[in-house]
Amino acid sequence: MTAKPHLDGAHARRLLGQMIRIRLFEEKCAELYTRGKIRGFLHLYIGEEANAVGVMEALTADDSVVSTYREHGHALARGIAMGPLMAEMYGKANGTSGGRGGSMHVFDRATRFYGGNAIVGGGLPLSVGLGLAERMRSGRGAAVCLFGEGAVAEGEFHESLNLAALWKLPVLFVCENNLYAMGSAIERTESETDIHRKAEAYRIASQRVDGMDVVAVEAATRAALEHLRAGEGPQFLECRTYRFRAHSMFDAQLYRDKSEVERWKERDPIKRFADWSVAARLLHKTDIADLEKAAAVEVDQAVAFAEAGDWESVADLGKFVLMDKVPA
């Protein structure tokens, strides 16, 4: 395993800044949801920011990403602009998917972001296909597939890991294990709770990593990608993490104790990394305040962008049901 990357101030500022952006964005989303600006299901990423930021920090532009319905953090960290992302939450025409998908279905061709997928496990086969395409065209890119531990119970998880391993495809499977599939604790759904061992059963190189530690996640991702780009086939990361908020907005959280949430909050990835960066003299406290301020401004601007957006014309309802051509 490769050692932790040597961090400089800029790198630390970048990691912390991304996590803060995600945190503030999600908090704004929650607020906007209660105000009726955002509808549908809204799944917030608060508490899990280190995973998205750590993974995306290690990717290149050649890589492609397949995500889940809890993908705002993935999207922001991958580089999707906050304004179009917020507009997508609104369902506005200036959203990433023109408002068609909403919170659960963020797509972005420019960053090779192949969608938030709202079918648990549904994205895994896609990532196998993306990896297959890379392989068949001898590309350098990896297909990075993020999913929760709930997907591990799906047949598509096993089919996809098997096929990727069988064909030695460049797919990085990243399981964000936040311990709950909606309200079902992992002990209640999995006979083997040590997820990364399932990947080993398919002869896939697999690591378990602290998902509350952004540096650890980044380091693990870099290591996995190194093997992957060396032609060693698919890699697997299990990021142990926790979501601080409810599964979605209308969730009374009857399935877990408040004390458990409080315990995990002590390991808040943002506070933890911020404190560590200050202690390590990579950042000043003022830097953190600046990052928070910048993120808050960015969120306000994103809201303004979304508010200013138009609704897609109803006349275009049927547009893109069938495509006229394959986008270049």
Binding site: S64, V66, G95, T96, S97, G98, G99, R100, G101, H105, F107, D108, R109, Y114, G115, N117, I119, G122, L124, P125, L126, S127, V128, G129, L130, G131, L132, A133, E134, M136, R137, A143, G155, E156, E159, S160, N162, L163, L166, W167, K319, F320, V321, L322, M323, D324, K325, V326, P327
Partner: protein
């Protein structure tokens, strides 16, 4: 100028189409269960592995969801996969990928991603394969916006639809009826692509329009021939494409014949025949001189014994009887 016709089977016509696609476009590859070393469950792909190699003729594990989904991903990434699902019944294991991904992503992504994928599968009854290998579920798929559903019934279409499907930016599902694979006929040696939209009038007549597709087309044509002996001239429409449906050809035919008989191996309740019937009611109401009639598969899982299987799906005799009762009641 047409080249000399070749005697050829439907199976061989499909294979020629696949071979041509692989030869013409390096982005095309084939994957599915037992398509390589085994040669295909229905021997359609026999010999292709030797010709094109393992990279492009990919035997897959029995993981319909994974390899269909992989086809979707590869298509989104710019390749042109042909995915073979052994039978329509097995495609249900990939239903999530077909319906939730292939059919939705172009629209849901606001047109950012297309899914130029072709999925071929065998369908239909008639080979005593019983209830888990014999169903006609293409009508189900025709329910889904975002998909194109083809049902080649002739050698020309078996040979020509695939290339057009691969040129289409959308997911195209091709349903090959198992009873057609051995059908033999003549095809010009230079036969090529055919359009993948629009129904075809396979026979003209004045007394009723038989609307059908797939293997039932040939039963309908045989029935029409016998009906002609009784003075009943049936027009026979081969739908070719179940989605989008070619309403214009159907309504134009009914405007001439004023009677419609829909023949469909699929089940009646909620089936494609119901859809066609309703469109006829909507669009041809004032042209109708008799209620539209359906002849569908019996609403049972297709049974194994020959006599029961025969009784469960439309046959020439039942088509004749239905047509006669429509044109000459009492």
């Amino acid at each position: 100028m047409t080249a000399a016709p070749l005697k050829i089977t439907y199976r061989e016509a499909v294979k020629q189409a696949i071979r041509e696609a692989l030869a013409r476009d390096p982005r095309v590859f084939l994957m599915g269960e037992d398509i390589g070393r085994y040669g295909g469950c229905y021997a359609v792909t026999k010999g292709l592995l030797q010709e094109f190699g393992e990279e492009r003729i990919r035997d897959t594990p029995l993981s319909e969801s994974a390899f269909v989904g992989a086809g979707i991903g590869a298509a989104m990434a710019g390749l042109r996969p042909i995915v073979e699902v052994m039978t329509v019944n097995f495609s249900l294991l990939a239903l999530d990928q077909i319906v939730n991904n292939a059919a939705t992503i172009p629209h849901m992504s606001g047109g950012q991603f297309a899914v130029p994928l072709v999925i071929r599968m065998a369908t239909g009854a008639g080979r005593q394969l019983a209830a888990q290998h014999s169903h006609s579920l293409e009508g189900w798929y025709a329910h889904i916006p975002g998909l194109k559903i083809l049902a080649p019934a002739t050698l020309e279409d078996a040979r020509g639809m695939l290339w057009s499907a691969l040129q289409d930016p959308n997911p195209v599902l091709i349903f090959e009826h198992v009873n057609l694979y051995n059908m033999e006929g003549e095809l010009p040696s230079d036969a090529g692509a055919v359009p993948i939209e629009g129904a075809a009038l396979r026979r003209q007549g004045r007394d009723l329009s038989i609307v059908t597709y797939g293997a039932s087309l040939h039963k309908a044509l045989a029935a029409a021939k016998q009906l002609a002996g009784q003075g009943i001239e049936a027009e026979v429409i081969d739908l070719r494409c179940l989605r989008p449906l070619d309403d214009a050809t159907i309504t134009a035919s009914i405007a001439r014949t004023r009677r419609a008989l829909i023949v469909d191996e699929g089940w009646r309740s909620g089936g494609i025949s119901a859809e066609i019937g309703m469109r006829i009611a909507e669009q041809s109401f004032y042209d109708l001189d008799a209620p539209p009639m359906r002849l569908c598969g019996a609403e049972v899982p297709i049974p194994y014994p020959k006599h029961l299987e025969d009784a469960a799906i439309p046959q020439i005799e039942t088509i004749i009887s239905a047509a006669t009762s429509l044109v000459r009641p009492s």
